[in-house]
Each structure stands twice: as C-alpha cells, then as structure tokens.
Symmetry: C2
Subunit: 190 residues, 2 copies
DNA sequence: GTCTATAGGGGGATAGAC
DNA sequence: GTCTATCCCCCTATAGAC
C-alpha cells in the first residue's frame, strides 16, 4: 500500500508504472486500487475513465519532458552530456523493475487503445524525437558526434534502439540493454 | 472471412497477425472466430487455451526462422545480402498493416502473459540475436561491415532498433522506419 | 469440426450512502 | 473522497447436441 499527500498524483504514478509494466490492456483500475489501498470506485472519482487516465499519464510525461529539456540543468549541457542524460532516463527505467518506455508500450498496443491516447502518443514521440534530433545535430556541428546521413534518421535509430533495448532486456537480461547503450555511444564516435 | 484448406494453420496465421496488431491482451478468440467465419468455441477445439495458442504461434515462428537461416537461399548469401534479407522481414511487416515484430509485442506485454509464453519469447529472441551476431561477425571479418566493439553488442543495437522502429512508425509514419533501416546500413559502412 | 448454450470471472463504469 | 452494491459487457473455457 502506498500513501501520498496528493492522491491524484499517486494514481498517475501507479498508472504510469503499470502502463510500463503490463501495457494498457494488461492493467486495470483494480491494480491501482489495491496498491493505493482503496476500492476500485475511488479511482473513478479522480479519473472517470481509463481513457482519461491514460491521456493524463502521457500528458504529464510530455510536460515533464518539456520542463527538463528547457531547464538550464539540461539545456546548458554539452551534446555528449545531454545524450548521457537522455540515456540515463532509460537506464533508470530498466533498473526500476524492468519498466519499458511509455512510447514503446503504447505504440505496441497502438491498435488496441482509444483514439485520444493514440494522439497523445504521437505527440509524445514526436517531441522526444525532435529534441534528440536537435541534440545530435548540435553535436555533429561541434564535431563531437560523427555519423553519416541526416540527424533525423540517426535520432530515429537511437530512439528506436533504446525503446527496443528495454524490451529485449526483458527476455535476455539487463546486459543486453547496456550493450545497446554502449554501442550507440561507440557508433557516434566512429 | 478467410478460408483455407488447413484450419489449424489459418488460425495460427490470424493469431500471429492479431498478436502483432493488438498485443496478447488486446485480441480475443472472438476476433479470430469472426475473421475465420466460425464461432468462438470452434477455435478452442484446435487450441484449447489462449496460452497454448500463443506458444504455438511463437514456436511456428521459431521453426520458420530456423528453416530460413539454414536454407541455402539464405545460408549461402553474402553478409550484406543476409542483412538485407533480415531487414526485409521487418519491412514486410511494416507494409502489412503496420504489424510490429512478435518479439517486441510479447516483450512489451512480458509481465502480463503466461509463463510458458515468456519462455518461448526468450528462446525466439535469443535465436534471432544469435544469428544476427554471427552474420555481423562474419561481415566484419570479411571487411564488408565496419563497427567498433563486439558483434554481440552491435547485433543487440540492430535488432533493438528494428523492433523499436516498427513501433515508432505507428506513431510517426513509415518514413521513420525506413530511416532506421537506412541509418543502420550507413553505420555499418562508416 | 462446428454448433448452441452456459458457466464463471474480470473489467469498466455508475448510483447512492456515508 | 471513499465506501458498498450493482450493472453490463467481454473474455476464456467447457458441455453436449449435431
């Protein structure tokens, strides 16, 4: 059982974790209620429908991401450090009970989730990819990253591999995920 | 409605497609039955439980993969052509209604699927990664692939990115997937 | 091999008491 | 805000007729 001064926020935390653990169609209000120590119906008071709950989780994630990348602690970092920060997000997910990334989870269930949640997922993915592209481009111009082709394509490769890497790690262990991260770094210096 | 001389096989085809379309917890016997033009219960005659059905789908996929890689048409190809063949599998999936790869789908739902299916998923992923690693190693030794680090790590990166690439394409379109494939090729020649 | 019928459970969601 | 009670639907699965 989890207690928090802000119930709304705790529900979002639990829903986010469950989404990353079991997928949208693999978790229920009952799962949240049990961990929160309340009954099923109490969750509906805060989030009337599962669709709204899912959207709220992604919206919060998007807001959080924008806050981070616009904060001086990230914004003023070198491209290498920015990338390390980004990789760190995924490493933390992996270390936290093998959670996968929100985008990967929702994209995999893409054809079995509500429309509004699909749109949220699109926006989230676009925003992450956009930032990653800009970061890679900046690094290439500064000469600290080396790669052939467009920054957009390289960003797609890096993001895809982190997403897929967290998933493969579930089958083959954490070592595989770290190999993906390290290889990405290697390939940017080659 | 789909008809086929071999019902068993058609069910596996439909289940595989649904697994790649909606995930294990996003499809039901009713979905299969409707497409097959029979009633729900008829599916249970061929596959008593959803767990067995899921395992049969993955087992067939594994068998098929082993047949392919041991067939002269693939076995005797150059490393570059082998890789092209492998990428082609994913390109075909993307072109077929945006299906994602079986491994990615099951790994994402990993904590919400039966034990036996988890084991099947592990074996499938291990076998694909193993072949990819050998292919990359062969290419590196022949001097046609260039990359830093171990072939195992590079294989993990390539497989992860294909898996994630199919997922990201659902949110941002097919172009993103092709960027991932092309960037992978670029990075092997750099 | 497929049907109808049905059991049994879980899930999302609402109503009304407290 | 949370509770109990309840509704209704979908799901997996089984029994027995055809």
């Amino acid at each position: 059982m989890v207690k928090n001064s802000n119930t709304q926020r705790t529900i979002l935390d639990l829903a986010e974790a469950l989404l990353q653990d079991k997928g949208f169609n693999g978790f229920s209000y009952a799962h949240i209620a049990e961990k929160l120590g309340v009954k099923n119906a109490a969750i509906h008071y805060h989030f009337p429908s599962k669709e709204e709950l899912g959207c709220a989780v992604v919206q919060r994630y998007r807001d959080r991401f924008q806050l981070w990348i616009n904060n001086a602690r990230v914004k003023d970092l070198s491209p290498q450090k920015k990338l390390d920060w980004f990789f760190g997000i995924y490493t933390t997910l992996r270390a936290d009970k093998g959670r996968v990334c929100l985008a990967g989870s929702l994209e995999t269930d893409f054809n079995a989730i509500p429309d509004s949640l699909r749109e949220q997922t699109q926006s989230m993915t676009r925003e992450m990819l956009s930032w990653l592209q800009a970061t890679l481009k900046e690094g290439k111009q500064l000469g600290v990253f080396q790669f052939n082709g467009e920054a957009g394509a390289k960003a797609a490769l890096v993001l895809s591999s982190l997403q897929g890497g967290l998933q493969i790690a579930r089958a083959l262990g954490t070592k595989k995920f770290h190999e993906v991260v390290e290889q990405n770094k290697q390939d940017l210096l080659a």
